[in-house]
């Protein structure tokens, strides 16, 4: 009770300082959450780009429509494939004519359609495209399988780079968060050292001495958490503006799951930092090194 009263009194006495520290901690929390949300957005965008790479599966000339439909149905069930579409020889020729109008006379002179039946397959990810192509080549009824290998390899290289970059950015954001939070916690702890010494002198119990600093930290952390939760939805919406996925099972908004994840991460991380700060405050209050105590608290 004494500790709570003292903490509330301190906070009432220094409202500006408390609010500024809370805002700074909230900024750290929101910035970390924003970086997390952006990384989700980048990964999502990359996976969308990956899905635009197609494998052209050319079928044997004269393959009957029943076999083609069966093959198409099998491919559409495959989990490694996002989408598979059939392009008939007639449609293939039309596409060719539309793409190369300058060769219209050549197309008119054709006595027989040379275009083979085609199934265009869109793999779920670029990394599995080579294995999928190999599998498709051995499928009965398939004449040949083609895809842009150089482009896929380039995409894989770029993905690797972006993923490494994201890991670095997330690690950096985490470190900045921990460092920023710890610095502020230490500044509060440091500001409370004289109070800790005075409390010991006037006969406070160990519990009262030990709780003086963590109680203050908890209040600042709670204020920062409330502030960050108020601002977080806007930041997440901004960070995930291009995220088209639906997370209707969590919230109608597409950013719902990201918001929930980000909020959980920042709150858990700040709790971890708070715990760390409290442990340090406890060690400081109970430090065995008497010379340090003498120098730092009683002979200021």
């Amino acid at each position: 009770m004494f500790t709570l009263r003292q903490t509330m009194r301190d906070i009432r006495r220094h409202p500006l300082r408390t609010v500024i520290v809370s805002i700074l901690i909230a900024v750290l929390m929101v910035a970390s959450a924003g970086i997390y949300a952006m990384s989700i957005n980048v990964r999502h965008t990359i996976s969308e780009i990956e899905r635009t790479h197609a494998i052209n599966v050319y079928l044997l000339q004269g393959l009957d429509q029943g076999s083609i439909d069966a093959l198409l149905a099998n491919l559409q069930k495959d989990e490694a494939i996002t989408r598979a579409e059939y392009v008939s020889p007639v449609d293939g020729l039309k596409n060719l004519q539309a793409r190369y109008p300058q060769f219209a006379s050549v197309f008119q002179d054709l006595t027989k359609n040379p275009i083979p039946p085609l199934i265009r397959v869109y793999p779920a990810s670029a990394s599995g495209i080579a294995a999928l192509a190999t599998e498709l080549r051995s499928t009965p009824g398939v004449q040949s399988v083609e895809y842009d290998e150089a482009s896929v390899q380039g995409m894989l290289n770029a993905n690797g780079f972006v993923n490494s970059l994201l890991v670095y950015v997330l690690l950096l954001a985490g470190l900045l968060f921990v460092a920023g939070f710890s610095l502020m916690a230490f500044s509060i702890i440091n500001g409370k050292r004289k109070e800790t010494a005075v409390l010991s002198i006037v006969g406070a119990t160990n519990t009262q001495v030990l709780l003086a600093t963590p109680a203050h930290l908890v209040v600042v952390w709670a204020l920062a958490s409330i502030l960050s939760l108020l601002v977080l939805p806007g930041v997440i919406r901004y960070s995930t503006a291009k995220l088209q996925s639906s997370f209707a099972w969590v919230t109608p908004a597409s950013s719902g799951i990201v918001y929930a994840g980000a909020a959980s991460i920042v709150i858990l991380a700040s709790l971890a930092c708070l715990f760390l700060a409290c442990v340090i405050a406890t060690i400081l209050a109970y430090r065995i090194d008497e010379e340090q105590r003498r120098e730092e608290t009683l002979l200021e």
Binding site: F2, Q6, D10, I201, N206, R294, L298, L299
Partner: protein, 221 residues
């Protein structure tokens, strides 16, 4: 009663703050601990209120070995004492009332009872009406009187004062000594460290004199 029995204090760097100090401060007495700066006066007081442990020897406060005091027993030991420091050890971001009330607040006394006691102590040290003043805005003499009021508010059995007049002018210094005498007449044991030999001589009270961490003299002028 405070008893120091063959007490030595050696620091990590090998420096001896105190060497083989033995003396007794009888209950209800006003005793000065005197000596030049660096003689070990503050170390003696820190050992008594258990901010430090002695390297050798035993310190007994009312028969309790301070080295054995931990947790609740240490709190109980410190609650017997009121302490006054040369640098006041006040919380400057709090009011006079809050500083003086602190020892009672940690003991869980009611607000009304605390308010009454604070009134009495501030009156005793000549600071009536200073309740709402911030400690940072007080003069040196006023700060020391606030510190003294804080030390006296629990009516401690023992008052330890470490150079309480060291930073003050003569008038403020006399006021502090007067209040300490008053507390002593009401039954408190007062053990005051000072380098002011003139003060010790003029009061004709018992003293213990240290030099270079050793006791060189004990008695009355």
């Amino acid at each position: 009663m405070i008893q120091m029995l063959s007490v030595s204090k050696k620091y990590e760097d090998g420096y001896y703050g105190l060497r083989d100090i033995t003396f007794t401060v009888a209950p209800g007495k006003f005793v000065f601990l005197t000596g030049e700066s660096g003689a070990g006066k503050s170390t003696v007081l820190r050992l008594i209120y258990r901010a430090e442990h002695p390297t050798n020897g035993t310190i007994l406060v009312d028969g309790v070995d301070t080295a054995a005091a931990h947790g609740r027993s240490l709190t109980a030991l410190r609650r017997k004492m009121g302490m006054v420091f040369q640098d006041y050890m006040l919380l400057f971001d709090r009011t006079v009332f809050e500083n003086v009330a602190l020892p009672l607040a940690v003991r869980g006394m009611s607000r009304d009872a605390i308010a009454q006691e604070v009134d009495k102590r501030l009156d005793q040290v000549g600071l009536s009406g200073y309740h709402r003043r911030m400690c940072c805005s007080l003069s040196g003499g006023e700060k020391q009187r606030v510190a003294l009021a804080r030390a006296l508010i629990t009516k401690p059995d023992i008052i330890l004062a470490d150079e309480p007049t060291g930073n003050l002018d003569i008038s403020n210094g006399e006021k502090i000594i007067e209040v300490l005498h008053e507390a002593n007449h009401q039954g408190a044991t007062v053990f005051m460290a000072t380098h002011d030999l003139y003060l010790v001589q003029s009061t004709r009270l018992p003293f213990v004199r240290l030099r270079g961490g050793r006791k060189v003299e004990e008695g009355n002028f």
